[in-house]
Symmetry: C2
Subunit: 219 residues, 2 copies
């Protein structure tokens, strides 16, 4: 902010640098490897919630699989437009990738009503029409995560490169994430009730910034 | 989710109803009035973080001012496209209101670079061109909240109907919110570091649902 704003002046670039220094200091000891640590720190940066240092769960090759897919121009399938809005399109598109979100499609809403399921679940089924490497980013609806995992288990859809499963809430959320962790697919999950669109977008962006060798757009 | 998904079946409408029952039970005693309580519960619904029960701060007439403005077709000015994406447009537009977000305007980015301030701060200045009742929803950038408050204090912009100030982070975030609480404007703030786009959108939606008499779109 400018001097006239009266608070200690910090430039845009310095704000993020200083933020991550504070996060590193308060995070202290942990068992994440360096690439996982970058993801966890960006989630904490997006939430100011250090609980994620204990909640975040990564399968063995989740991050390398996600980064490789993004570098190949993967399509990032989001459960909500909020997640899609939070993803750094400039970096994603620099690899030839794009964001897709089917939740707002009129036919998705109609089918969800007819079947009395969530629009989020039906939207995941629409992803079977996509080709090329896929990264799923689910930050809102446990029904979307469960539907995706069941489609993978039943070979309705080929296992994507990575499933980011961070729905938030109180009904079937914890269970949906444990299903994801146990499924035959690389996953990044926030155990428990916590998560959300900002967490999902932060994870995608953390992978994008690693994929681009640490290049970072100013915020 | 459907029976084949294997978890206990809960219909979309039941998911939210059951979620709020759990939130009410775990929230327990509090000092919020009934309209504030609806806002706090929707924030907890969006974050699964009960810290907000102690962090949320409301000026005396914040909620009635926000609801009245939304019922008059207020423009909701957001600091990020994520906040804009999370707002229930169907309900907002049913009152004749709309969402505006200037952050992605090319001239905003250019001016921010020239002045070495954040795009968020410059985007707030663009709101001076808007007419009619305004509700600001700031979920990301403390620089946006501080710039807005300073513009109000210096009569650069007329005091809006409501300022929702829930930026998240580690640098100047706490201070920006205390500035907002002390400013001559109705405000809803999450004290401390926590907040975010999902929190800002949840607050706007909680006001929209109260403005529409509790009507609620299925998710």
């Amino acid at each position: 902010m400018s001097a006239m704003d009266g608070l200690s002046y910090v430039s845009p670039v310095e704000i993020e640098k200083k933020s991550f220094e504070i996060i590193s200091e308060e995070l202290g000891e942990h068992n994440f490897n360096p690439t996982e640590e970058l993801v966890v720190k960006r989630v904490i940066h997006a939430t100011a919630d250090f609980d994620y240092a204990t909640l975040m769960s990564f399968t063995d090759h989740a991050i390398e699989a996600g980064i490789a897919a993004l570098q190949k121009g993967a399509t990032v399938v989001c459960d909500t437009t909020m997640v899609a809005a939070g993803i750094n399109k400039r970096v994603l598109e620099s690899f030839g990738g794009e964001v897709r979100c089917f939740i707002a499609d009129p036919d998705v809403a109609a089918e969800a009503r007819d079947r009395d399921v969530t629009r989020s679940a039906v939207a995941m089924e629409r992803a079977t029409s996509l080709s090329g490497p896929l990264v799923f980013a689910i930050g809102n609806a446990p029904t979307a995560l469960v539907r995706l995992i069941r489609m993978i288990e039943h070979d309705v859809i080929a296992a994507p490169a990575l499933v980011i499963g961070v729905p938030v809430g109180f009904v079937n959320v914890v269970e949906s994430k444990e299903l994801a962790i146990a499924a035959p697919v690389e996953s990044i999950v926030s155990r428990g009730r916590k998560g959300g669109s900002t967490v999902a977008a932060a994870i995608v962006n953390a992978l994008l910034y690693q994929a681009s060798g640490g290049r970072r757009e100013a915020r």
